[in-house]
Symmetry: C2
Subunit: 316 residues, 2 copies
């Protein structure tokens, strides 16, 4: 039997044909074009092509999972909003289901899919209680509780990035002041580095950006810190302290086995993880707290996680 | 059938005989005296007396639950530390079990018992995902996830009070700076009111404490705010803001159905809950977030929750 994972983005739709061990047997990518009906029809076409290529048929499919960058209704039927896709109250699950009668089709948010990918194939394998924080423009991710994706007590999903870290601090895009996202996202690191650069014209940070905060990137901030620039190092250490506080908090709150960190910032590798682990260790209430590790699934997270959506919904 | 709930405190041991609907049919209290063997023997004696009085026997007991103010091993066998009781690696469950062969005996932390009391008889009835925060000297309480007591992913239990609220802020007793406990406990309110009193000799707060911070209590701070004292009102509003941030954070993190607030501070009633609900509402990510309510079980929480320990451990 095969599984299909579909990862819909604002530029491309990525599809994967996986076996039951979640090995990717084939993949394809098509440009995203607007409209729910069109998206469903083009996904169906690609699925049939991949099956054909594998010498298989629809009867060999155990499920199709679809990940979308947007909010999904609790029943998993409708994309409430996916602004990058211009989807609003789009009944996408049923549209795809219509092409594949008898095959379970599941729909979820791409952050949820990423958590499942880490659970079944990546850094959170075997965990009953764990978290994924994806540090990018915002903070994505989610939690595993009881060995399954935790979708929130009221079906709203969860927002681990919108938890207060510095009450009354930096304004967050959500309207709350001092969220984890406004201190620990890549965007936050860029802002912190931009300010320090402006205040320190002698710094390597300043030199590399020609004094223009708009040229700042998270990678540049990290590279300057790695190069030993004092200004960049101070920024980076402060950032690690914020992130350590956020992770220690969730360790204390849920006694997690593992917290995985993904997204661009996690590409800093040991330069991030070594001081981060020391910081978390110093701040955790429980001396035998869980571990902090890099996420493993990268770009494949959407496809692999989507392929496990139906499984996760059905199995304890 | 009857259940027995036992709530061991440093001064008294409270016992209750409950029916299957968790109605308290009889209760008793004996002074606490040190020593695990003695405690177990005296509990057994009281249980037999209560059963006799009710015209019942050991065969009519469905379970015995024991709540202890200390840390319990994940297996629920041993009190690792209960400093007020001078219990250290005390195998209390087995000692009590020895008196009642065939009757399930369960042991847990008193904060866990309080959560179960609210779940089965109080403010969290019917909830699948909910929290209890008890605002006292520290912050106790815990979470219901999946309709059952959540004991932490690694069996450490959880510490919702030791979650960062103001990174780098007030030092907490746990060694972490800026915990929820160091801003939202009764102790924190007392500290905040004491500082404001010292800075405002013209205030009612100052008058009522004769300028002595050691005379400050949470009730006094709240009473002065209720009386319209500007200094006390400023303290109270700031405190409500901290508490609102802590509750909004856990709502955003777990999408809780209900967060119940107990402990002395919650005795302020609507004077606390009305502004607190407005604050939480303004800060929650999800517009249809859960509710914030007073805890209901008060002093009975230990006995009632203890009586449900075995049930919660066995039933989904």
């Amino acid at each position: 039997m095969y599984r299909i994972g579909v990862d819909i983005g604002g530029t491309n739709i990525a599809l994967g044909l996986l076996d039951e061990e979640l090995e990717l047997k084939d993949s394809s990518s098509i440009p995203f074009q607007r409209g729910g009906e069109r998206v469903a029809a083009r996904i169906a076409e690609q699925v049939r092509l991949m099956l054909e290529k594998a010498g298989a048929g629809v009867e060999d499919l155990s499920c199709i999972g679809v990940a979308v960058p947007g909010s999904i209704d609790p029943a998993g039927e409708t994309v409430i909003h996916a602004y990058n896709l211009d989807f609003h109250n789009e009944p996408l699950r049923m549209r795809i289901q219509a092409f594949f009668p008898g095959v379970p089709v599941a729909l979820a948010n791409d952050a949820d899919a990423a958590v499942l990918a880490e659970l079944y194939k990546g850094a959170l394998q075997g965990c009953k209680t764990a978290g994924l924080y994806t540090l990018g423009t915002g903070i994505g991710g989610g939690f595993i509780i009881g060995g399954r994706l935790f979708r929130g007590g009221r079906g709203n999903g969860i927002e681990p990035g919108h938890v207060v870290l510095v009450d009354g601090g930096e304004m967050c895009t959500c309207g709350l002041a001092g969220c984890v996202e406004s201190y620990c996202s890549a965007t936050a690191l860029i802002r912190q580095a931009g300010r320090a650069m402006t205040a320190h014209p002698e710094s390597l940070l300043h030199q590399k950006t020609a004094g223009n905060p708009a040229s700042m990137t998270a990678k540049l901030a990290i590279d300057c810190a790695k190069a030993g620039d004092e200004t960049a190092l101070t920024v980076f250490r402060t950032y690690v302290g914020y992130l350590g506080s956020a992770i220690a908090s969730v360790m204390n709150m849920l006694d997690m086995e593992v917290v995985a960190i993904g997204g661009g910032v996690s590409g800093a590798g040991d330069f991030l993880f070594e001081p981060l682990r020391l910081d978390v260790d110093a701040k955790c209430f429980f001396k035998n707290h869980g571990s902090v590790v890099p996420a493993q699934m990268g770009n494949a997270a959407g496809i692999v996680g989507a392929a496990m959506l139906y499984h996760n919904a059905c199995n304890g």
